[in-house]
């Protein structure tokens, strides 16, 4: 008979079978009666000889079924009926699972994009970046372990000439703002300077034209530019004749040689590319390049590394004495994800904890359900159900719940990802978008499988202890092992929650510390905008001075403007690091480095940076007058070991500068010591009028100075008026974006803020879940021990004694959990050390706060259900006995 036919004739077959069995029993009974047995005994004898008729009939029917599937379907139907009878339970569990699995899926998508998915280049495993490793011991006895991808021009020349196992491309670290004039437009665009082999190494072919030639990549070579697809469309209206056209960049003519295809991913966000022309002079004198590496076919990384190891650039001799220094290739993906690895893994850890806590909670709920069904399970066992069939059915509920939870969770994750990405600072991720691929789905399925197994396993283990007899006698008792299982679950939940709370706590304290760092200036009503002066028209110091003079005069004339100034750097930004020497006193002649900036006289007034001693710069500090400098308080302390430094001298290049003033410290993104996203560090200022053409040419290729305007009140249309004022001084000179100064502070700490928001949300979720866990455990205890409490109270136990007796177990679980949690947190928080500033990973205040918070909340959750004890009536309990 075909399977199809069987399905239809099945009812018929089943009916025949059951009739037949009935006939058999009757025939046997009749025979026994005929032999003189009383009717009743005969019927029971016939049944005994026959065996378990229900079970055997079932076996007979099973012959016609597609066994595993039919069994599963039957179990599923039963489980669905059970779940529909408890909509509250079902809803809670599915929602908890959806949130937990959704969070895990979303964060895993992030980890996948950042750390796992291959880069969007051909043969990404053949791509690397050259880094300099340094292992040594500092004079202070500290172990120094440093990895640096900034390289100088001499290193480039050595690599280019001696390493044959791979191809190399140099690039400037990041894109700079420059001025583009084309098609009657002046635009501030992002220029990424790269060497001739850059696109070849990445494996990107131009859409039109070609990449740079070796000749174009030599110092003083012909000026050439490659356009991005987006720029070609917007500024050049997708002009097919654009190749060979001359456009003006940085005030000089450049020839368009190529257009790149759309949506390419390179190592920096750029509108166009120009040759970097790496060599040992100019910017090549410092570690301003990065080197990309593409392995030659047939070569191995160990060959490349062996060739790199043998190179000893001059710069090594200035490194830490006695240290091991060498060059090596580091996988590109590892390098790109360097900054985001710890935060991403920290988030992954946090959401994983949430999933575990959620599963523990659900397992606790399942435990209650399975205890309630103890009678049913015992009855089924007594009627001949196998243990396997009971387990199969116990697993069916968790399975259905996780399937529903996971489906919902993946949807939540998908929807959340779009908003989540918007929450992140734009340059935090080296990827432009986070997408879900098969890895993410596989991960979600694994999460779901692990959850289902865990949630199903705990109740299954509990049924092992079920005994048929006491259950059937209708006297199930609250055995100690029942509350013990729950106690262990709740304890572990509390333990994990403490870890999350402590983690969120130290991150909050980090943010508070960073946000309450005294900024050292007043950001209110200050607007800043950058201009690229990497422009042929302003390279000469005299032209530069004229531009500042004219534009600032025009801006001061805008009604409502209080002061206007220009500075190479502004607070919250990373500044220029420059070398200098102290020219007098005991430390005279020693070379040192510090953050520095040129500024116009009103700079300190515009930012309201206090002048602590001496004077600010004035209009009398001209290119002709004596060279002067101003230092900040940290600089005075660190390099002069004195606060009385007015009249002392610095040697900047060949210029001997007198220190004429000391100003207050401002908060900046550190340039030299990268141990905090924000800090106050030593800094010196020089007048914008006293910098040389050579200096300007160099620093303006890396930094774009800011025009700073302070108004007495917010001015509408200030941006346009500032642009107009700049136009008066120089035509075709565009401002980049305008920013209220207060925005910069927010941007500087955006990563910390995102971390704090996410971790606080997760920790609150964990807290809520574990409180539900504690509450559930205690209320279940109340229900289980109702009879016992009633009897006790009848025997003279007071209400409060009974409440303490029951509620105690909740508090005990929490105290135990806190104890273990402190130990676990001590280990776990080590992992996020690099994310913490101004607070230790094991911060006593945070840990105490977290413990007290958990304990208080747990007390409430423990004693709230005991209020129900008051409703127990001892008399009715005794009557029911």
């Amino acid at each position: 008979m075909s399977w199809f036919g069987q399905v239809f004739s099945r009812r018929h077959l089943y009916r025949d079978l059951s009739e037949e069995i009935e006939e058999h029993l009757q025939e046997r009974t009749a025979e026994l009666v005929a032999s003189g047995m009383p009717q009743q005994d005969a019927a029971s004898m016939a049944r005994k000889e026959f065996g378990n008729s229900a079970l055997l009939e079932e076996r007979g029917r099973e012959v016609w079924q597609w066994q595993p599937v039919e069994r599963l379907l039957r179990d599923a139907r039963l489980a669905i009926r059970q779940l529909r009878r408890n909509p509250g339970f079902t809803f809670t569990v599915v929602l908890t699972l959806a949130l937990a699995i959704g969070a895990n899926t979303a964060v895993f998508s992030l980890v996948n994009t950042l750390l796992l998915r291959p880069l969007p280049y051909a043969d990404p495993q053949d791509l690397a970046i050259v880094v300099r490793y340094l292992h040594g011991v500092s004079p202070k006895g500290q172990v120094v372990d440093d990895v640096d991808d900034g390289q100088d021009g001499e290193t480039w020349e050595l690599i280019r000439d001696h390493v044959t196992a791979a191809r190399f491309a140099a690039e400037y670290h990041g894109a700079d703002g420059i001025n583009l004039e084309a098609n009657h437009q002046a635009r501030y665009v992002k220029d990424h300077r790269v060497s001739a082999a850059y696109f070849d190494v990445l494996g990107i072919r131009p859409l039109m034209g070609r990449t740079f030639t070796q000749e174009e990549d030599m110092p003083h070579g012909p000026n050439a530019v490659i356009l991005s697809y987006e720029l070609w469309r917007s500024v050049f209206s997708s002009d097919p004749q654009v190749l060979g056209r001359a456009i003006r960049l940085k005030g000089e003519p450049y020839t368009v040689v190529g257009v790149m295809p759309p949506h390419i991913q390179t190592t920096a966000l750029a509108d166009l590319w120009t040759p970097v022309r790496p060599w040992h002079g100019g910017e090549g004198g410092g570690p301003n390049y990065q080197f990309l590496v593409r392995l030659n076919s047939g070569a191995t990384w160990s060959q490349v590394n062996a060739q790199l190891h043998s190179l000893r650039p001059e710069v090594f001799s200035h490194m830490l004495k006695g240290a091991t220094v060498y060059l090596a290739a580091r996988p590109l993906q590892e390098d790109l994800a360097d900054g985001s690895r710890t935060p991403a893994l920290m988030l992954m850890g946090a959401v994983a904890l949430i999933l575990v806590i959620a599963c523990i909670n659900i397992a606790g709920l399942m435990l209650v359900r399975v205890y309630r069904r103890e009678d049913e399970v015992a009855t089924r066992l007594a009627l001949g159900a196998t243990k396997v069939s009971i387990v199969r059915q116990l697993f069916m509920e968790p399975l259905l719940l996780t399937v529903a939870g996971t489906a919902l969770g993946i949807t939540i994750a998908y929807l959340a990802l779009t908003s989540f990405v918007r929450l992140l600072p734009p340059d935090m991720l080296p990827a432009t978008e986070i997408t879900m691929d098969y890895r993410v789905l596989l991960f979600a399925v694994l999460c779901a499988a692990a959850s289902a197994i865990f949630i199903g396993l705990i109740p299954t283990l509990a049924t092992r202890k079920f005994q048929i007899r006491p259950s059937l006698s209708g006297r199930t008792s609250a055995g100690p092992q029942k509350s013990r299982a729950r106690l262990i679950l709740t304890t572990s939940e509390v333990c994990l929650t403490l870890v999350l709370l402590a983690g969120a706590g130290v991150l909050v304290r980090t943010l508070v510390y960073l946000q309450t760092l005294p900024p050292g200036f007043d950001a209110s009503n200050v607007t800043i905008a950058k201009v690229s002066l990497d422009d042929a028209r302003f390279r000469d110091a005299a032209d530069f001075r004229a531009l500042l003079q004219k534009s600032l005069d025009a801006m001061r004339r805008i009604p409502g403007v209080d002061s206007a100034a220009v500075g190479l750097g502004v607070p919250y930004e990373r500044g220029l690091n420059d070398g200098f020497k102290i020219a007098d006193g005991p430390t005279a002649g020693t070379g040192m480095a510090s953050s520095s900036s040129y500024v116009t006289p009103d700079y300190f007034r515009a930012f309201r940076i206090p002048v602590i001693a001496g004077r600010p710069f004035t209009d009398e500090d001209t290119s002709e007058s004596a060279r002067v400098a101003i230092v900040n308080a940290s600089f005075a302390r660190k390099f002069f070991q004195s606060s009385d430094v007015v009249g002392r001298h610095l040697l900047l290049g060949r210029d001997l500068c007198e220190v004429v003033g000391v100003v207050g410290d401002v908060t900046k993104e550190p340039g030299i010591s990268i141990n905090s996203p924000l800090s106050t560090e030593p800094m010196y200022y020089v007048p914008a009028t006293q910098v040389s053409t050579t200096f300007l040419t160099l620093v303006h290729t890396w930094f774009q100075p800011s025009w700073i305007v302070r108004s007495s009140a917010p001015i509408s249309g200030l941006d346009e008026q500032m642009q107009k004022a700049l136009e008066e001084a120089a035509s075709n000179l565009p401002f980049a974006e305008f920013h209220p100064m207060s925005d910069l502070q927010a941007t500087a700490l955006s990563q910390q803020r995102v971390e704090v928001i996410l971790l606080t949300v997760l920790a609150s979720l964990a807290l809520l879940l574990s409180l539900v866990g504690v509450y559930g455990m205690v209320s279940n205890l109340v229900a289980q021990r109702r009879r016992e409490i009633g009897i006790r109270m009848a025997l003279g136990c007071t209400l409060s004694q009974a409440m303490v007796e029951i509620g105690r177990s909740g508090v005990m679980a929490v105290v135990l959990g806190l104890g273990i949690g402190l130990g676990v947190a001590a280990f776990a928080l080590q992992a996020i050390k690099s994310q913490l500033y101004g607070v230790r990973s094991l911060d006593p205040l945070t840990l105490i706060t977290a413990c007290v918070l958990l304990l208080l909340a747990a007390c409430v959750a423990s004693f709230a259900p005991t209020l129900r004890i008051a409703r127990i009536n001892p008399a009715s309990t005794l009557r029911s006995e």
Binding site: M1, E20, I21, E23, H24, E27, R59, G60
Partner: protein
């Protein structure tokens, strides 16, 4: 229950087939026949006959029809199909071969004992 059903896998089926080879029978009569001919040596639950019969029905070794028994009862009578006949011949010869093998292995022990 499954583990106590048979002596060895297929033994019950073989006995049913062998019994049906001589004449068609209904379930109860089959059970009594197997019990008696095996001298009650085989402690088989009478009811386990029915799942076995269902299996053989499905495999097309037997066919069943409602009829009237000698004692005037409405019963389902089973008889072998041609396929069932072939099957029982094959099974019995292979069973005999197996039995012969077992006997040979066991016989030296018997001599000693």
């Amino acid at each position: 229950m499954a583990e106590e059903r048979d002596l060895f896998p297929g033994a019950l089926e073989l006995m049913i087939l062998q019994t049906l080879k001589h004449k068609p029978l209904h379930g109860y009569a089959l059970a009594q026949h197997i019990k008696q001919t095996s001298n009650e040596l085989l402690q088989v639950e009478e009811g386990s006959l029915y799942p076995a019969l269902q299996r053989m029905l499905k495999a097309g070794l037997v066919e069943a029809e409602w009829g009237i028994s000698a004692t005037n009862r409405r019963v389902r009578i089973y008889q072998l199909t041609p396929a069932g006949r072939k099957h029982v011949a094959r099974e019995i010869s292979s069973f005999e071969r197996m039995l012969e093998g077992i006997t040979r292995v066991l016989s030296p022990l018997k001599e000693r004992g």
